[in-house]
Amino acid sequence: MTAAPAQALLLASMLFALGLLGVLVRRNLLFMLMSIEIMLNAAALAFVAAGMRWHAADGQVMFLMILALAAAEAAVGLAILLRLHAAGRPTLDADTGNRLKG
Amino acid sequence: MIALYGLVLLPLAGAAAAWLAGRASPRAPWSVAIATLVLLAGLLAYVTHAVPAGGGPWLAHVSAPWIPALGITLRCDMDGLGLVLLWLTVALSFPCVLLSSRDIADAPGTFHALLLATIAGVDGVFIATDLFLFFFFWELMLVPLYVLITVWGHEDRTRAAFKFFLFTQGSGLLMLLSILGLVVVHQHQTGVLTFDYFTLATTHLSPPLAMGLMLGFFVAFAVKLPVVPLHVWLPDTHTQAPTAGSVLLAGVLLKTGGYGLIRFVVLLFPDAAVRFAPVALALGALGILYGAWLALMQDDIKRLIAYSSVSHLGFVLLGVFSGSALGMAGAVVQMVAHGLSTGALFVIAGALQDRLHTRDLRRMGGLWPALPHLSATGLVFAIASLGLPGLGNFVGEFLVLLATWRVSPPIAILGAAGLVLSALYALTMIGRAFLGSPPGDGWAALPDFGARHMTVLGAAMALLLALGLYPQPVLDLSLPALPHDAARPIASPPVAPGGPRP
């Protein structure tokens, strides 16, 4: 089996672009958070692919870091989301975020 | 001659005194301003008198170091052109203060201080020969006037003042760039960093560079003069300014544009100016016709006079770029005559506004029986404005047209056509304001011009008449002194040595 870092990077690019599409298109905060998870994963894939190309463990170290970041982001983001929902914004519309008052 | 500094410092000191006096009593600043102007006239008379006879075209010099590291000095020189315009400034300052500013109610101290500061700036512009110092004075006369308009102007003053400031400041920036460019080029050539007018005049410039630098100066002065596509600030500003501001603007500040064109465009870049002359002549003719045409269409009397200014100053542009002594002399006479006649017209328009609380010609008419003296003076100055021979304006216009005819008869014909239009708007203004029957049921008792107004305006009329019938002293003085003898764009005619001076 041959390694194909270019293909992996291409896959990462496609996932990243899809994630971006999701962030830009969806108005629901929950879907935006999911899209962000996708983008983070795409980045992680790129790191891993790069690590494979150079036969180094650094790529996977970076993946671990991204994992930690994603965990923290998901925790805080979901907490805020719940909070907004509880504060009377049941639609979770991101476009109403510019109305600074609940 | 150290007295040249006095011409600037005296009004500045007067400004400070007026401001302080304003805190004591509301009438005091007016007296202080009058006293300052009297002293200034005396000082100018002394300067005129002290000029050595036959001492060359430059009449007085003074210089002192300012910022030696940058080659900036406090250098002032005066020639006949400067002297004539200084006298015009002093002469027009009197009506400003005597007739228009006595009844200023809010903050009279500040008002007179700003007025005197403007006069100081104008005086400085007419004598400074260090380019940095010149630019300094150029800005000095702008800012106080801006404040005058913003605070004491009429209903739409903020917008008008802002427009005035943007146009003048923006074009002033171009001039600053040109000044710096010239200085840098000169430093490259000689290794000497200097802002001195006489030294910079010797800089050798390639034709495109000279044209570019000249255009920077030209735009600044063209805005001030104003030349037609750049005139749009003027009607608004003149209309909205307080009467004293209008008089000072029309009478004196516009002249700094004409002065700058002669001193810094034509004399500093003689070759570029010759190449640019066709464009400038066309702009001048355009200005004459366009200004007159629009003046005819105005309902606001101050706007009408403002557009007539645009038309009159088109002649100045023609004269300056006609490239002959004749045209220069005509331009200077035209500037002086325009200052007197249009200044007086603004006094009259301001007086009308004070009495009727409108500037709208559609709401005037039949004022002659109610205000015979005011109407008569209005008629007289309107006639001067339309260029009746025997009054100063005609001399200027004729000399300019003659000089233009030598260069380009079609342009001169267009200029002469402007005289027809000037008659049209001047007489229309008179007809609509003073003649005919009053709107509604006649005018209630209106206060006519008193002795003070009649005396001052009569003096202006006498000056115009003198300028129209015996302009030789002004003509002799009006030829600008050249920065150096190498380039002689003007065929200097024999000037009568020691001729009489005003």
Partner: protein, 625 residues
């Protein structure tokens, strides 16, 4: 003779100064002077000028200087850049004749105005302008420098403006005054261009210098002559500038008599006569002058025939008579033109003043069809008007107008029989329209009863001018009647030797006879058409009469072709096109601010979008530099 010279040089400026001083005093008094003093001052000043002019004339003619001219340089006016102009006077026979007309007729009219303007509250303003006019006119005829002449030229225009609009409360009067000034100003601009051309060529505008023999002809001379002709046409109300004069009748009648009949309108004739060598070098322009004169003469005579307002009849008549003068100038008959100028000044001033006397007596009624039978109520005025009318019609042998018109007809015949025929037709029409006026106004049934009396100060000038209008022609007669050539011989040093007449050949006599018969035919025809009969007379109806009454539609055409488009365009642009440019810049800035501002509206997705866009842009730049 030498002892006489210094005071002689002193006289012309003094004569100008008399009315000028009166005008200055009247202006400065600002109406505070009592009315009688005003009248005495004005009439006295002009009278003094007339007396001094007479004295000057006597001395000048009894002991003429060897060159027949006297130069008085007052001061250098402009001397700069190779151009030199002086305020200077030249007294020569031509200016002497003009001075005599101006001061003489001027004095009589001032005298008349003392009566006419009695009771007007603004009499000081009136006399100030009148005396100022006399001064300006004297400057005009005396100047030895064209630029100085131009001062007088515009000065009389200004006074004309002020006096036409004298009764300013009526808006129409102001409009008429403005129209007069603007139309003549167009001509003045042309004249100014002519001066510029001449000054550029010669370096100065001294008339003697300009007229030195050996001036080149060609296109430059043609252009200069054309431009000067433009000025003259406008001032003298010739086609195509004639439209201002009928409206100018809005002014008081003495003004019409002095300015719009006797003096100012003849300034164009004087100018061309004065500069005739220039015109001789431009044959095309000469021909144009003659043709325009003829056209004017016929058109105006036709218009006069259809008018109903007595002053407008006289105004069109003035235009027509000035057409005779231009015809004469165009054919090179300078002396004849000046001769007609003089006689016309006499009889037309007379006609106007008589008409003014009539108008005062019939309560400011000016429509001739509301007058009638006035001859019985005011025989003196009738006699004066009849004398003037006879002179205008050119009643053979007994009137001044006959001799001057005869001189022009003679000259026209020599230039072209066609011109002569036109002029003859004009003479017929002249007699026709003025007889119509006389018959309708003074004969027949009374329609408006006159009241009051014509006071002495008005009657005396009428009498004096009546005598002059009858006898004034005797100074110059055709050879076929009597070889009297006082005027032509006097003017010869300026205008060249008088033209040779047809001589003893039978042609001259025949011409004379034809010229004498034409007015008689006109009067006879007028008698047939408008002789006094019972019933009411009415103005002619019909298309032709209406067109003639409206001055052949020149006003309407100019309004439609020039004034309206000009004003309409101006109205469209009254807010100043260029003023929109900064507004446009401001709008662009505001729009840009709005667009950029919308980028930061607090919507997370937009922010994300902009971040992504920026990333893409940066990436593209980084990948493909």
């Amino acid at each position: 003779m030498l002892a006489l010279l210094p005071p002689l040089a002193f006289l012309p400026p003094l004569i100008v100064l008399c009315p000028l001083a009166a005008a200055t005093i009247l202006l400065l008094s600002a109406g505070r002077m009592p009315a009688p003093a005003t009248r005495v001052l004005a009439a006295g000043a002009v009278g003094l000028a007339a007396v001094l002019t007479l004295w000057l004339a006597v001395r000048f003619l009894s002991a003429p200087p060897p060159t027949h001219r006297l130069d008085v340089v007052l001061w250098h006016w402009l001397r700069v850049g190779g151009f030199d102009a002086r305020i200077a006077f030249t007294l020569d026979p031509l200016s002497l004749v003009m001075m005599l007309v101006v001061t003489g007729v001027g004095f009589l009219i001032h005298l008349y105005a003392c009566g006419y303007m009695r009771g007007d509250p603004d009499v000081a303003r009136f006399f100030a302008c009148m005396t100022l006019f006399v001064a300006a006119m004297l400057v005009l005829v005396l100047s030895s420098d064209l630029l100085c002449l131009y001062v007088g030229w515009e000065g009389v225009g200004l006074c004309s403006y002020l006096l036409i609009g004298f009764w300013y409360a009526e808006a129409a009067n102001g409009a008429a005054a403005r129209k007069a000034f603007i139309v003549t100003r167009i001509g003045d601009a042309a004249l100014l261009c002519g001066l510029l051309l001449l000054a550029t060529r010669a370096g100065g505008l001294d008339i003697t210098m300009l007229l030195q023999p050996g001036q080149p002809g060609g296109p430059v001379a043609e252009a200069a002559a054309a431009l000067l002709l433009g000025g003259a046409l406008a001032k003298s109300a010739q086609v195509p500038f004639q439209i201002w004069l009928p409206d100018a009748m809005a002014g008081p009648t003495p003004v019409s008599a002095l300015i719009h009949a006797a003096t100012m309108v003849t300034a164009g004739v004087y100018l061309i006569a004065r500069l005739h060598p220039l015109f001789l070098a431009a044959p095309t322009i000469m021909a144009a002058t003659a043709v325009l004169g003829l056209v004017t003469l016929l058109l105006a005579a036709g218009s006069a025939l259809a008018q109903t307002d007595i002053k407008r009849i006289l105004a069109f008549s003035t235009i027509s008579q000035l057409g005779y003068m231009f015809l004469a100038l165009g054919t090179g008959a300078w002396g004849a033109a000046i001769f007609h100028l003089v006689t016309h000044a006499l009889f037309k001033a007379l006609l106007f003043m008589a008409a003014g006397a009539v108008i005062l007596r019939v309560h400011h009624q000016q429509d001739i069809f509301h007058m009638g039978g006035l001859g019985r109520a005011m025989p003196g005025v009738f006699a004066a008007f009849a004398a003037g009318a006879a002179a205008l019609a050119g009643l053979p042998l007994v009137t001044a107008g006959f001799y001057s018109k005869e001189a022009i007809l003679q000259q026209a015949w020599h230039a072209s029989p066609l011109l002569w025929a036109g002029a003859l037709l004009g003479a017929f029409l002249t007699a026709l329209y003025i007889s119509r006026c006389v018959f309708i106004v003074f004969l027949g049934p009374v329609r408006t009863a006159p009241t009051g009396r014509t006071e002495a100060s008005m009657a005396i000038p009428l009498a004096g001018l009546s005598v002059l209008a009858i006898t004034g022609g005797l100074i110059e007669m055709p050879d076929a009647i009597a070889p009297v050539h006082l005027l032509f011989r006097l003017l010869a040093p300026v205008l060249g030797p008088p033209p040779a007449e047809g001589g003893a050949e039978g042609g001259a006599g025949l011409l004379l006879l034809t010229g004498a018969l034409a007015p008689l035919a006109g009067i006879a025809m007028a008698w047939v058409l408008w002789r006094p009969r019972a019933g009411t007379a009415a103005p002619a109806a019909g298309e032709l009469a209406r067109a003639a009454r409206a001055g052949w539609g020149f006003d309407a055409a100019y309004g439609l072709l020039l004034v309206r488009p000009f004003l309409a365009l101006g109205w469209l642009n009254r807010r100043d096109l260029f003023d929109r440019v900064p507004d446009l810049l401001a709008a662009a800035t505001r729009w840009g601010a709005a667009v950029l501002g919308r980028m930061q509206d607090g919507r997370v997705r937009r922010y994300a979008g902009w971040i992504a866009a920026g990333t893409v842009a940066a990436l593209c730049l980084a990948v493909r530099p």
